[in-house]
Assembly symmetry: D2
Homo-oligomer: 268 residues x 4
């Protein structure tokens, strides 16, 4: 079971143009700051947020309780010119979980309903740190620096990565896995239920059709932070040529992850 929190700024579209359109650089600063804050606030509780569309965000929140969610929702109201709705759900796959969470949120009214404010909903039981698990694939393009960044124009590199992203995300969806861009040439993909082989095959397909060579660290842990730390280490093991293949999996508390020297796991 993976626990997903869907967040939505309440009635944001109308606000951006009331009474007149607001300066775009201010909106950009405001939206990216909300993302920064949520990253820090969920992060200090071992969660991981993705900016998605900035006005609608998706987070992996295994182990984070209702009181903490409410405190974060309340903190946004206390500091921003708008409020935030939150809907939490868990399921076997991340795709299902976010689908349930969104459905429940939608039942309270439209994203642009003037009255609907600070929805707070929990569709299913919360996933504690002891049940459930988070599986994250940290997917990365091989040598993006040498093949694109240092060679092509900044915008062309950007376009190529956006293109690869859409192809990758479509493939992931077949497995009920999600994908999010996390900067550079990196994608973080909540993918409970997928296995190394599913990923390898997907990478071969994309290499054949698009000529883009991918690799992934696959981390399985109790929380988003645990899983993402392990995924990062898996990626480094591939980068260091310490394993064959394009995917390397690490599972929390498995024998292998215990052998990793403590300081290597950048624990807590």
């Amino acid at each position: 079971m993976i626990q997903i929190t869907v967040m939505q700024i309440d009635n944001y579209g109308p606000w951006t143009v009331t009474p007149n359109p607001r300066r775009e650089s201010d909106l950009q600063a405001l939206q990216s700051r909300l993302y920064t804050d949520l990253s820090l606030q969920f992060g200090v509780h071992k969660g991981l947020v993705f900016y998605t569309r900035f006005d609608n965000l998706i987070a992996v929140t295994n182990g984070i309780d209702l009181e903490t969610h409410k405190r974060i929702q309340n903190s946004v109201k206390n500091r921003y010119p708008f409020t935030l709705s939150m809907s939490i759900a868990s399921a076997e796959t991340p795709y299902e979980a976010q689908k349930i969470a969104t459905k429940r949120l939608q039942e309270y009214g439209s994203a642009q309903d003037e009255v609907r404010k600070e929805v707070f909903d929990v569709s299913t039981e919360l996933v504690s740190e002891n049940e459930g698990y988070v599986q994250l694939a940290h997917i990365d393009i091989d040598d993006v620096t040498g093949t694109m960044t240092d060679k092509d124009s900044a915008y062309d590199t950007y376009l190529q990565i956006k293109d690869a992203q859409v192809k990758l995300f479509k493939s992931l969806k077949k497995y009920n896995a999600l994908g999010f861009f996390i900067g550079g040439d990196n994608f973080m993909c909540p993918c409970n239920g997928m296995n190394e082989n599913d990923l390898s095959c997907m990478f071969e397909d994309i290499l054949k059709s698009d000529g883009i060579s991918l690799k992934a660290g696959l981390g399985i842990g109790k929380t988003a932070e645990d899983a993402s730390n392990l995924a990062d280490i898996g990626l480094e093991i591939i980068r260091d040529g310490k394993c064959e293949g394009s995917v390397y999996t690490l599972k929390q508390n498995s024998e292998e992850s215990l052998k990793i020297p403590h300081n290597y796991t950048c624990s807590i």
Copy 2:
């Protein structure tokens, strides 16, 4: 002439994994904060920045001088655990300008060169507020709330918009125009040289092939802020049904823009 500034975090990839991979929620907070700061710092000088890949950013900077650029570069060094390189160029189209700027930046060394730091380059003469102009299309999906946000799952809406984005950006490139996602269902597109008709045709094509209905405010002004304010107003005029067609153009200091009541232009 449009002036474009390409920015790149120096040697960022290696830093993210030294000595061990850094917590992903911290990296997300760090990157989005850099974007917030640059938006505010360029914004207060009438510029507009796009986050692009977060480690490589593209800004429209007509009217912003070298000293201000350097002050911002220096301010990043003073407050972040990394440094930022900047390369400025101007050209008839935004695509060309960013291409020249990237090329010059690349000549100083790789993005992951350990020694290359705080490149500061100006390839062409700066564009003052009196020469040159910025043309921005603020492109938006019709009724995204009713057709996607309130109906589909948060992730499916996200995927559909990413898909539309890639199609849109490929079409724009034929005109040497750029496109950037600015949140929600919105794209900001520097497009000096395009005209209303080019945009309308593009929108018809996308409507036919993908069923997504687009509209745009097209703003032409001395600076990115001027252009983007006018583009926003154009978009509102379409939303209010005050014009026919899917594109509405406003030009700074043209007779029409002068008729707009002062408070409507959210001037300065």
Copy 3:
């Protein structure tokens, strides 16, 4: 028992002038941002931080465990151009607790030692939410708006409040209580062990000698957040004229605090 965390930026003085003095507006932005982040990160765990000298900060952290402290320390390293040392101690009074914590920190080396980095020390057992308690007096000047802000110059009002602050803090120290300025005309004072009467007498003295009229909400709770919420409510009860005297005390889970309507307690 109250738990206090003393934090210190490592070797900060030399950094501010290396290789040359850094722009002061950047240092101000950097320091106040660190304070913002720590407020959010401890705040989402029910702690409360005071900026103190900006390079040395003091926090009330009852109920916050070591792992969370380390995660915050690590997050600072991941996002700032410097590192942070932390020392935690608990005692019957806040003054004693911070004294023990500072002493332990000092044993690791000077604040300007080039080698000493990220000290992490716990001198005494942590105070869980079930043992110990936090007592906070939220002290406020009566009608600062009418008597100073709207009448005197901005700087003179500032000076008068700084003056009152020093007098107040000296009086508080006799009770081993601490005091911090939290903006406007407000002081937050950790004061385990003091009682209503001690505060009232102090206020009378200050009124006589300086003509400044003070009042306080006194909150007693399991965590800094609980205590500060109750202190705020106590202050409102005085403002509303619902009680006599200049101090009003509320204790978590006491009969009276349970009678407060739920939404009034701005719970969580």
Copy 4:
């Protein structure tokens, strides 16, 4: 002539307790963030802001025009849950300038008037970069690390510095100079009209009466940034033992400041 901008959050007191008192850690985050933003936004225009009481701020703004002030005021409205009033004035001394600015602001209504919003006032002509000048004394305690930080408790050091601050600021006022705490053991003091001798005498008095040994770099420049850079360099010259006495003055474009190697001046 020095130009001072007085800023005030509109009707902030009532907002902090409506509908119920807001979580204190959120208020601290909100207030210090406003200060961060204003530091960056004025900073990128060579201004310098002081947090003063957080709800009332004072800035030195020589060379910053009305349009930029308005853009910053508007940016606050676009991103915060409150608005900001601004009043600008210039005079021979900073004390007089802030006094005039405050007076004008007060004429528009109370700080806690529900209707008064976004006052924008300019009492006197703006000071361009070519007229007028800014004089800043960067005052610092000798060896605070050895004599206090590494020896006394964190809170006692804090108290001693607050005490010294009040004495210092009272002395400065006799010269119509202002003083602000900028972190650590540092004070930034706008002091057009004072001279080296006035400062030295003041330092001797404070040394005698309180045993605190002070020094200052005195910078005179066209803008707050220029003056503060020069003051910082002056302070370094004293620290390096390159001059006698406790005050060292540097004037922009004077012969001596031109001899400073370019990279030393951390210019722009």
